[in-house]
Subunit: 463 residues, 2 copies
């Protein structure tokens, strides 16, 4: 870096630190070869770095916990890595309003633990919580497990502090729940994936933590019944419903085969659902959930069901959902799609995929595909279509892509419900956005980043 040393003095990563983790993602799917990782400790340092890099046309990629699934935080063009890891302070918390203000580099679980001690909860939860940064969560508009109950980050984030490519500090760190004074510009950074600026701080409204959590797992005979159960759950459990997850037969069968784990219900049913409730009164919640289960079984919407009776059983039931992505790589490879599809047609895609793969699917080694399975956040119309294979296979890939995207596009769905575009899906945005929308996005990109110092920030990346 030579002449840049004055700039990086004090913010460069420790010389003894291994640079390798910054050059790859946790799935080891994307790879970069950065020579320099900068770890600023303040918003002013982030501003100085970006200003300098902008003036010297040096490419930069911001990196939080580096837990993304689409390569968005990996220096695939060998950019300078701007790590937010040292910006990890809780700035303030108001115990009356529930408003938390914190640096972008605070780890999600650390923030949630801080809130738990004060009987509050972070309105977002996801598998990577032990590593991911709250700034990265906001930059990627993470969805996760609590969206059904607490809504999206677009509603919960009250304010942002961000640095534009030219070093301008966007000081929009409001702690107010209501502020109707002009355009809500912070929204562009929520889900903007760091392409128009680096988030350095967030302000977010947090709900009270629930005392009571209950979980049920049940079997259904058709996707039609799954939809009926979902409507009934919203009706009867309304305000305490905190998750409604769908798992198809294949997902549970493969989970059983790969993990050897016994499933909670006997028999072999086409669909399974997991319901979680969170509320302030254990007795009331149990009664509601019991009534709901009696009703849906009486009406033959549900075939069979089980209610967790303690913390261990709650974890066991959740593992039937969370264990699916964990164990599917067992046979060698998985093609993963994270899709939003209108709820009535959501499961059709899994069936269409199986049909399309046809003779490639089978139980024996000569078949490249083990099965296509569907699971996901039914409550958010968010399907995870996973195709488990006996190793990565070009023939299978060609059959699936872009066919899956075309199928979703025809139904006005989204080719990336919660994972974002990153480098993985940048070429496919046209399947979920019109030409007009892509053009309008390019305008915004050009407005905030005319120099495009970062390869990650070029229109190429977005379109």
């Amino acid at each position: 870096m030579g002449s840049d040393s004055a700039l990086i003095n004090g913010v460069e990563s420790d010389a003894t630190e291994d640079i390798e983790p910054f050059n790859s993602d946790w799935m080891r799917k994307y790879r970069g070869h950065t020579q320099l990782v900068l770890k600023p400790e303040s918003t002013e340092q982030v501003s100085e770095i970006l200003k300098y890099c902008n003036e010297h046309t040096l490419a930069v990629v911001p990196q939080g916990g580096n837990t993304g699934l689409v390569g968005g935080s990996v220096p695939v063009f060998d950019e300078i890595v701007l790590s937010l890891a040292r910006m990890n302070r809780i700035r303030s918390f108001d115990e009356v309003s529930g408003v938390l203000v914190a640096d972008a580099g605070v780890i999600l679980e650390v923030a949630d633990q801080y809130l738990a001690e004060r009987r509050y909860i972070f309105p977002l939860d996801l598998g990577a919580k032990g590593s991911c940064h709250i700034g990265g969560n906001v930059a990627t508009n993470a969805g996760g497990l609590r969206l059904l109950r607490y809504g999206s980050l677009h509603g919960n984030v009250l304010g942002l502090e961000a640095v534009l490519p030219d070093g301008t500090i966007v000081d929009d760190l409001s702690k107010l729940r209501k502020n109707n004074t002009g355009y809500d510009l912070k929204q562009l950074f929520i889900g903007g994936e760091g392409t128009i600026g680096v988030i350095t701080g967030i302000s977010i409204v947090c709900p009270q933590r629930s005392n009571a959590v209950n979980v049920a797992y049940f079997a259904l005979e058709s996707y039609e019944k799954v939809q009926q159960a979902f409507v009934e759950a919203k009706k009867q459990l309304g305000e305490i419903l905190s998750a409604f997850e769908l798992m198809d037969n294949a997902s549970q069968r493969l989970l059983h085969q790969a993990s050897g784990r016994k499933l909670p219900l006997g028999g072999d049913h086409p669909f399974y659902c997991l319901i979680e409730t969170s509320g302030s009164n254990t007795e009331h919640d149990s009664e509601k959930l019991q009534n709901f289960l009696e009703y849906v079984m009486g009406e033959e919407i549900v075939l069979d069901g089980v209610l967790a009776e303690n913390q261990t059983q709650i974890k066991e039931l959740w593992s039937c959902r969370e264990g699916v992505p964990e164990h599917l790589p067992h046979w060698g490879g998985v093609y993963k799609y994270d899709l939003s599809i209108p709820i009535a047609e959501l499961y059709d895609l899994v069936e269409a995929t199986r049909e399309r793969l046809g003779h490639l699917i089978g139980d024996t080694d000569e078949h490249p595909v083990v099965d296509a399975v569907g699971y996901g956040h039914m409550g958010d119309s968010n399907l995870h279509l996973n195709v488990a294979t006996r190793g990565y296979n070009k023939e299978v890939e060609k059959i699936l892509e872009p066919w899956v995207y075309e199928w979703v596009s025809k139904r006005n769905g989204s080719i990336s419900a919660e994972h974002g575009l990153g480098v993985a899906k940048k070429a496919y945005i046209g399947y979920s956005r019109s030409e007009t929308m892509v053009k309008l996005m390019k305008q915004i990109k050009d407005l905030y980043d005319p120099v495009s110092i970062d390869e990650m920030w070029t229109c190429e990346r977005m379109c």
Copy 2:
């Protein structure tokens, strides 16, 4: 209009229709003198109108239900009025996902009634619901009575259709709860007050309607206790809490004097609060509310309280809150401020205002001010400061403005929590937004409306 007649053919308002209501607001505070009201029936017609006006530099003001409080929909510069009144179709509703798609000109109460028949609820409620349009609600990012429970429109609006000043149709009418494919541009139009485009359709996720509604009204000895009661309500009522409203002693005293209405509780207490719960089970909710009231009275957080036992009593208790703005004009004039203030300091402003007005306040006619009162959405840190006067009075106005805005600004509050900027507060944006933020907003305005065909859309309006 002469040569414009081809354009306006079929979209002009009925020749027999009185044009007067389009030229003034319902408070009769703002006045315009438009000669032409256009009432398009389709998005394509809106596009043609704006394109034509843009090319011919004709100023336009979009108008929904014209129920705003800041003059944002009144043709104060004698612009052409673009009324959305004829675009009033419900386009679709999905009974499983709860997603409603509708024209911008649908009246809020009509939309809510449509949803009520299907056991759903519009996630927004406000006094003007019988007249206001859902498009106008979104354009002004209306807050209202259900925000505490269902969150802001930034979280609930899933998609938008809007027309830019040059006639471009922004086709972002997604019905998906999750769609992380690029910048969330629709957010700029939510709360953009029609200054960068006209909203013609919205897609919004609606929650299940609650079967059970309970209301309590109680008295407290200090603002400190009000905050304690709020924290306790969130803790004990959590998921069923749907309103926490604050009314000070003066607001209730003046309501009593102006209306002759008997107040629900005897004695004379410094503060009153109204709590509403909405849930799926009447018995559970009543028990929670009863337990809460017993606890806060046992702990001496609350001095006295009453619980509504039927629909009539619910209305009576609500009228103690809603009757305040209705009856305050009784003495001749009211200076109204709609402010967001950090919750700990929220009530300080009312006391500071009384102190500042000093000898001007009094019970007899020689005193220009009757009293300064505070009430509002405690749950959202949103204070309505109202100064009741014996007629509009320049001396009083000068004492209050810009002092109130300065006071709020020093505490990083908002000078317009939910009403917007309109023409009333455009000059004051600097009290709630930094120079950087105002500059960034101007960039957006220039990007979407370089010609600024509409006086309402000039930077003047925003800054």
